[in-house]
Symmetry: D2
Subunit: 336 residues, 4 copies
């Protein structure tokens, strides 16, 4: 088993997809063990650390990478299987950040009203019990919520020589902020540049649908990813696969366009996988598809279109990369 | 137990919320047994019945009612508990309707491209096994999907002397098309006119998130509703409650506004129920709230904001109307 | 010349399109002299009259009418030529209304931030000099702006038995709030019910594009309209014609859909008028069409698509109704 | 007078803002004479050259530059005064490009319907008479339209180490496609990186509002720009100034956000220039502001908010850069 460990120093973190050289080269079939900082770069450690004071634009939402996958060329697909996502600290933070979030004016939904108050919440993470503990700031109320670790950000270098802030989700991936991206899931990303140049970051101990206040339960993570390269097969928008579901994503504004992109991709993908006529696939997805909301706060909004594989008769997908990577991941965990 | 049975003749069906006299008066605390036609008025019975030919605008999406609830006045809330929703036939239909659906030009997302082809699918309903069977139109592919009956349309007469087509969801309810509206759920609707004048329709044997092609598995239903009146308590947008969740809805365009309305209502409602500061409630909903998509095809789009009651410490809601109506419904079912 | 004068008492004003009987019957070819109240029903008379205190929802934006046009049937078109629009008082008012306007949270673009402050401005109208005078509230700044009277609201009873608040623009007309609707312009409205039932209101002494703060320079008006009925010719969305331009309107959300509707109608209308292939018309409109913004603050947003008639070779439009009504109006003004 | 002439070879053209070294260094106060290719890179020369065949993604919408302005640092503003914009050829082209334009499905407003037909139009440019001649493709119809040259694309390197396709307008400028950007206008751009790195391209012989079909009358241009650097004064979104108007721009989706950004900037800018209270400025802009639509077809939509200087008492703007550059430009033209 080819295991590559990489722990970035703070100055190794990246704030864009594209526009940066790789931090390492990975052979397809490898396991990557790595560490990701939280979206505040670890600078918010208590309720007194207001992000607008301790963080500095644009140094937000750092990602670990990019990693060059050997042999990857435009037109190929990277398969990244998340073997494990484990909180690296026993605490996490969240905040209302000025001009950010779905229920406040922002720099684009521009308002003359003052921004919502900036406030920080600190959560306790109890990995053993599988919970995070919420503490209200202005009362004694506290409650345990299920721990459900995920990565908000995963992506590759964009097409057309672009470099995009890590906060922006688009066809190259980026800050999609979907809770569906948890351990056990394989993410498929279309390769736009030689090596693909994937990076990951923005771990969440858990997140609601849409990340309505703008931030999740933000946590540093120790994460293990198994990597494959699928030659000659393109992927127009990031796709996800778990043992029982196929998922397409779309990131755009307004939110209905994120919905349209994701559902359109799921319909045409289903049609390709099964030979169903596109209208027949449209009908089937209409009745059994789900649409988990990713984010409704970032520079593009993200929606996921999700279908049980059983509805399609469990077709073969991406040359069975998910099953293979899943097995590799289990082997790695057993040997660790 | 006060049980009222009502089966509308075709000419009794209504095509608006508001603008019509009540078909019956109901005392609070009553059970209503009734029948609803499908969104095509029962006129599409085979794949050869194209809706654009057999249906006539604006006679689509008929509702049963309106029912006048005695004593209901503006500022009150109607609680409608769906005791049971049972398909009235062993088949259902779905269709791509010209200029309707999320992946085609419509009358408002106006395009110069011709509309998507009109096509009808007929489903078999097997109530005993709890499945509906999909048949592809252009191949032999067929698959069983779980039966999960729901009502797409429920509402009251709107405020401000308006009358709205039943197809339109807004603050008065209407065609929200959320799969969350299944048996076991209580819907809360703010009263705008004397008697409230609620009506229901648009049964679906099942539906995917967003009803992407524009129609669900459309079915006539035998439905039983238990009705309460909550005096002096307003409800800004339709809310839902099941045994374990509170839900707010929002219906608007663009889709992010439907999200904003529903999340805003859930945050402020959570704050009122628990005494949490609004920003504390915002934070909590952000991490544990879900956002099931209703429709992304109607004249307004609908989103639901959903929270486990446990996250709020299971507060008392609407004077415990749900528990009371649930018990009444179970008693009714036991005695039936 | 058939001249009909009508001055409504306060209790005669209407707050919906549809759902109300006609206040009078008009023969096609008539001149209607009438009076319209401002959007506050004349209750805001000084900067101390806060609308949220002196007005009562839903009694806002009153219209004068509806007028039944004899012989009008669904499928016909009403042509309303605005002969003159004259301020009825020497003052007008404007305001920031809570949760209303483009740069504040609203009931649908729901925010947790408090609403923008409510403030009233009072304008002097000098009809002789053709100016309105703006006075800043918080400094001595004052400036004269050109008087440019218009009606924000004009429409007919909607289709499908709907009744809509006058504040809402849609296919039936309503509160489009476009400055293009000034004297000298003919408005074409498709008839949905017998008699058409047109009404007008919401005079503005002038208005910027989009009515960004939510209200214009709101003024009562003495208005004269010349009316024709065009039998057997439908009109999908309100259209306008002046001596040199054809205009289509669209009202929807998001704003790009209002743009799409209006441009789509202008392209297809141009194609019908000239025999140009739709793609040729699309190309021509793309290069010479304008897109004056109506409102970006109401329950639907409105855009206008505007084309110089010269670009189409000045084709005959609606059986030359505009030229005929214009001549009738000039004759009326000469004889007055 | 410091005059710098630069004519790019095809391989010198740029397809991004950011991510590229400067092609030349310019001293503030200089005149730049240059040439820009059309959006198709000059490859579409007849109606038989379908863009999807003769062009290659992402090599579309080339810009000339970037130019490094000496001394420019983040926090400064570049003032670019367009002295003259002259068509370089006696013809221009336009096209419907698959999945591009406001009245067709696109890659984000994803549809299952096939794209609109691809078609090319070739215009004659007659600089002497000041007209462009449109020829219908499917009939003999032809018409002269006023020549009104402009640049669709102008911008600087974006903040946050981003590189963006030239087709995308955002806070750094880019493909705003507003007809307001004609000769005689000064554009203000906030500097994000050392040297600012401005570039220009995408000349249009003329353009309608919104560029509804996706392309304008696309033309190569000989363009002269006068350049100033305003130290220590920031500019959040591109602004324009002509002799009589101030203009703010906003680029975003949905279109109402482009409107909000531009109006918000115009309101706050007006407030800063005059000392008016922000609500007083909001009111004034609401009544006298215009909102010319830029594009409703690119990856972000663009709107302009436009105010006559007279409404503000003709305040001093950007240290009178416009007047100074205008004088410099006139001197250049006189001496040429």
């Amino acid at each position: 088993m080819n295991v590559f460990s990489y722990r970035p120093a703070p100055e190794d973190l990246s704030y864009t997809f594209g526009g940066r050289p790789a931090v390492a080269r990975i052979a397809p079939g490898s396991i990557v063990e790595t560490y990701t900082e939280d979206c505040f770069g670890g600078r918010v450690t208590s309720v007194d650390d207001l992000p607008s004071r301790v963080c500095e634009f644009p140094y937000l939402n750092p990602v670990t990478g990019p990693f060059h996958v050997e042999g990857a060329e435009p037109g190929d697909t990277l398969a990244l299987h998340f073997v494990s996502i484990e909180p690296a600290r026993d605490w996490a933070v969240s905040a209302t950040f000025p001009h950010f979030g779905a229920l406040t004016g922002t720099h684009t939904t521009a308002m003359l009203t003052p921004p919502l108050e900036e406030l920080v919440w600190r959560y306790d993470i109890d990995t053993a019990s599988g919970v995070v503990r919420y503490h209200a700031r202005r009362s004694d109320f506290t409650v345990e919520l299920p721990l459900d670790p995920m990565h908000g950000t995963v992506g590759v270098a964009p097409a057309a020589s672009e470099a995009r802030m890590t906060i922006t989700p688009d066809a190259h991936g980026g800050n999609m902020d979907t809770p569906e991206l948890r351990a056990g899931v394989t993410v498929y990303l279309g390769v736009n540049v030689e090596g693909g140049l994937f990076a990951i970051g923005d771990g969440h101990a858990r997140q609601g649908h849409g990340e309505v206040c703008g931030t999740a339960v933000e946590a540093a993570m120790n994460t293990v990813v198994a990597v494959e390269l699928i030659k000659g097969v393109g992927t127009p928008w990031p796709r996800l696969e778990d043992d029982d579901h196929l998922m397409s994503t779309g990131s755009a504004r307004p939110l209905e366009d994120a919905y349209r992109i994701s559902q359109h991709d799921l319909v045409t993908w289903s049609s390709e996988l099964t030979g169903l006529d596109p209208l027949d696939a449209y009908q089937l997805v209409s009745q059994i598809g789900e649409a988990p909301v990713g984010n409704v706060c970032d520079t593009n909004y993200t929606m996921v279109a999700k279908l049980p594989k059983s509805a399609l008769g469990r077709p073969e997908v991406y040359e069975s990369a998910h099953a293979r990577l899943r097995a590799l991941g289990l082997r790695y965990l057993a040997e660790r």
